[in-house]
């Protein structure tokens, strides 16, 4: 059988090669036509024929009007918001007076630890007077964005004052605290840039990072080893380190945990790996440092080494709005490309004059800072042995953060327990404390807890009262 196959194959091959090697039969236009040329010509014709045939595609039938109508009728949208559950009906306490160290809630006087009034400027006479003057001169609102007659001379005065106070060339004012950071980050970071951020940053920073469309890498909360590893990894992987802008985003005092960032270590790493720093000083401006100039003053780092500093003024300065400061290039760039500055109305003039008066007060009375520090130390001491709760914040942080020693099981039961502690403290002992609330859009995974904002105008008895109340209520509710 195999022999027959071999014989047939051999004879076919002979036949084919005879045609190939056939002597020239004809000469057309001076080109001799050999046998193999004919076979090749036939092959070319067959290939061309196949190419001209259309490939089989299943016929495309667009939807008819009637079918679209049916689809539209069938489609049922989800409701705009999910069903309201029991825990969504939380009503916060309503204040009936100024948010000073003592406030009135539901007709009763309470000790207020829920306002970030660090320097005790709420209700300060001088600030109120300057606000009244500004209200009578300028009215309430500024009625326009900065580019279209919304720039009032007090804005320019305030920007220069803050720049002089911090020792930077220039600064820029924003009209709302949280919009500062989420306008600054997209103004400087674009697609393709690299950002290394702390995983405990608050929602406004996360929103800014998302809107910037850059590559974001998170490092473990306040862990310098983790930061160094991430910087090393990112620098190794990036192809053109000179063309790509790279930033480290940290907060001076973290809202979600009360930790303080070690700035000298971060500056050392930044210079080693050639990154720029964006530092959010909302809770440390006017608090840290010998003169209240913030984290750079506290850690002894020259302010030129930090590229971009942002801060919200709704905390120590007892006003509203925010500012950003840095080199001249940094500030000028934001005047045209920062969306929260260009497309939004400017800060009302009376709040600006309150800011100027607050910075003046801070410059003239640096003793208020030592009072704040004593208060923080006292409260920290008193709260170190609360049953069931443990202190999670830094010893110098004005945000005293208490978290549960042992979780009760699920996140929801934790929140309920903390809420009931705060509620009982308010109703029985007249101490107003805040629990951290997390939005469903927040990606921060740090534990929730109770937050006390210490103020320089709290008296010692206020602090002792709060500590005693927390110890009592926690002993009752945490088994």
């Amino acid at each position: 059988m195999a022999l027959a196959m071999v014989n047939v194959t051999a004879s076919v091959l002979d036949w084919v090669s005879s045609y190939f090697d056939a002597p020239t039969r004809a000469v057309v236009f001076g080109v001799p036509i050999d046998g193999h040329l004919v076979v090749e010509a036939l092959l070319v014709v067959v290939i061309l024929f196949q190419l001209t045939r259309k490939s089989y595609k299943p016929p495309k039938k667009p939807l008819t009007e009637k079918e679209i109508d049916e689809l539209c009728d069938d489609w049922v949208p989800e409701p705009l918001t999910p069903q309201i559950t029991e825990d969504m009906t939380y009503e916060p306490p309503t204040l009936e007076s100024a948010a000073g160290p003592h406030a009135i809630v539901n007709g009763k006087e309470v000790v207020n630890f829920a306002s970030a009034n660090y320097l005790g400027l709420v209700g300060n006479e001088k600030i109120t007077d300057s606000c009244v003057g500004a209200l009578e001169k300028y009215g309430v609102g500024s009625c326009g964005p900065r580019g279209f007659y919304g720039t009032i001379d007090v804005h320019l005065d305030c920007e220069q004052k803050i720049a002089k106070f911090l020792g930077t060339p220039d600064s820029i004012l924003y009209s709302y605290g949280i919009s500062t950071i989420f306008s600054v980050i997209p103004a400087f970071c674009k697609k393709g840039d690299i950002i290394v951020a702390d995983e405990g940053v608050h929602w406004a920073v996360q929103n800014g990072l998302y809107l910037s469309r850059s590559t974001v890498v998170y490092f473990k909360h306040n862990d310098m080893k983790s930061l160094e590893n991430k910087l090393e990894e990112v620098t190794r992987r990036s192809k053109h380190p000179e063309k790509v802008r790279r930033y480290i985003v940290v907060e001076a005092i973290y809202q979600n945990s009360g930790q303080i960032a070690p700035l000298d270590e971060i500056v050392r790493l930044k210079e080693k790996y050639r990154f720029r720093i964006i530092l959010d000083e909302s809770h440390s401006f006017g608090v840290l440092g010998n003169s209240g100039r913030g984290l750079a003053d506290h850690c002894g780092v020259p302010i030129e080494k930090i590229d971009i500093i942002t801060a919200g003024m709704g905390n120590a300065l007892a006003t509203d709005g925010g500012f950003c400061t840095g080199s001249v290039r940094v500030v000028d760039h934001q005047r045209l490309s920062s969306s929260g500055y260009v497309f939004s109305a400017s800060l009302p003039p009376y709040l600006v004059s309150a800011a100027i008066a607050a910075v003046d007060y801070l410059e003239e009375n640096p003793s208020v800072l030592s009072k704040l520090r004593t208060n923080i130390a006292t409260l920290f001491n008193e709260l170190s042995d609360v049953p069931g709760l443990v202190l999670a914040s830094h010893i110098l942080s004005p945000i005293v953060f208490l978290k549960l020693k042992k979780s009760t099981g699920t996140g929801k039961t934790d929140i309920d327990l903390l809420d009931s502690i705060a509620k009982q403290a308010l109703e029985e002992d007249s101490v107003l404390i805040a629990t951290t609330k997390r939005s469903s859009l927040d990606k921060c995974k740090l534990p929730i807890g109770l937050r006390l904002f210490v103020s320089a105008s709290h008296s010692e008895s206020d602090l002792l009262k709060a500590a005693a109340s927390l110890k009592r209520v926690a002993a009752l509710l945490i088994s």
């Binding site: 079918e67 679209i68 689809l71 539209c72 489609w75 949208p77 705009l80 309201i84 825990d87 916060p92 100024a98 948010a99 406030a103 829920a114 306002s115 970030a116 709420v122 209700g123 109120t128 606000c131 009244v132 209200l135 001169k137 300028y138 009215g139 309430v140 609102g141 500024s142 009625c143 326009g144 279209f148 007659y149 919304g150 804005h155 709302y176 605290g177 989420f182 929602w203 929103n207 809107l211 063309k243 790509v244 802008r245 050639r274 919200g312 006003t319 509203d320 969306s339 497309f343 109305a345 800060l347 009302p348 009376y350 709040l351 309150a354 805040a434 939005s439 859009l441 927040d442 937050r451």
Partner: protein, 490 residues
Amino acid sequence: MVRLPYTTALTTLFSYGLLFVFGQLRDFFRKLLGWIRKPKDQLKGYAPICLGLEDFYVRRLYLRIQDCFGRPIASAPDSWFDVVERCSNDNNKTLHRTEKTSRCLNLGSYNYLGFAAADEYCTPRVIQSLKEYSASTCSTRVEGGTTKLHVELEELVARFVGKEAAILFGMGYVTNSALIPCIIGKGGLIISDSLNHNSIVNGARGSGATVRVFQHNTPSHLEEVLREQIAEGQPRTYRPWKKIIVIVEGIYSMEGELCKLPEIIAVCKKYKAYTYLDEAHSIGAVGKSGRGVCELLGVDPADVDIMMGTFTKSFGSCGGYIAASKEIIQYLKFSCPAHLYATSMSPPAVQQVISAIKVILGEDGSSRGAQKLARIRENSNFFRSELQKMGFEVLGDNDSPVMPIMLYNPAKIPAFSRECLQQNVAVVTVAFPATPLLLARARICISASHTREDLIKALEVISKVGDLIGVKYFPAEPPKHLNQGHNKLE
């Protein structure tokens, strides 16, 4: 509806081309000088903040006419105000304030009902609340920042607008950009008007939903887009959309046009899409009792799912609000980040809005509110018709207090602005990137505090400057007597 004549388009393109060529030449020389001079060592290894072409427009085009933007003022933004003069030593690169000011007529601030300056009813109450509650609460709404004033204002706003409940925010921009991610996420579809404000664009981008755009103010195109999108479903997976939200504005600030609200609501109802109406410029300024576009066009507020507005324009304060059904507001109070993390609205600003709304509704015991509303309507209509008679190309609908005058050529922008300022009239000129490149314009905002004499003076100045620069693109009608029909409301 801008009718751009061919010759104007060609000359505008030519001007921009010339500016571009000169800018590139100067950049080339700058690079040359940069090679010759050594770079500073401390910036070695760092990528520059802005590479080459990214800020070309700013450096070479905007800086030349920088003195037309960001003019500081030294008094309240009322109908007449003091503009601070600035001087420059280095060809407009940096501007320095001088001590001199000039008193100018204000045609640029958003002061629709005249609440910008100290008001006889509002200001004493604002000062009272400042002394009682101080300038800021230093706290978020859910912790210790809710005061009696906030609760009162939320109820008042809900009543004013005609919805069940309302929620306040401290800034109008944040209201949009923090709210849209709350109500829609991945798997949803946002259909927004092509000329929507930057805050809406940012909010839509931040939500993670798919965004589609429909032609400005064209309900038929909206219907087409809706049909196509519902039929196709989500991109790549073809699953049906979770929900669809259509976002429109009441008055578009760069066009002065009113939204075609009844038709758009009809289309949305037919296809079961939710509607979101941004009334930043129209609340308080249009409508018989100031209730906005819904009242003017005869739309029932219950048909619009979410109504948003700001207090900056008509109420002379700051901040924004959302008004919707009780369930939606309850959900927002639970999960909206701007409510949970941002400092609450400053109490004096809240009091200003409360007083302003009471004046508008007539609950302060006088008829000033009704007078203001009637005056702004007459002022807008009078001004617009006079400008059109003079031959200017003015955009916008009747009753809208925003009127853009088309300029087109880039050189006419600073010319118009500077000439008007010399004659003590302050106008706002807008160019790229807030408007398309070829369609630069000057935008006039009329206020209820402008008197008839103010408007006549403004018309004279604008007419003279218009002749000088050549922006009267349409033939003028023969001038009638301007004082005809003088209203006795003053």
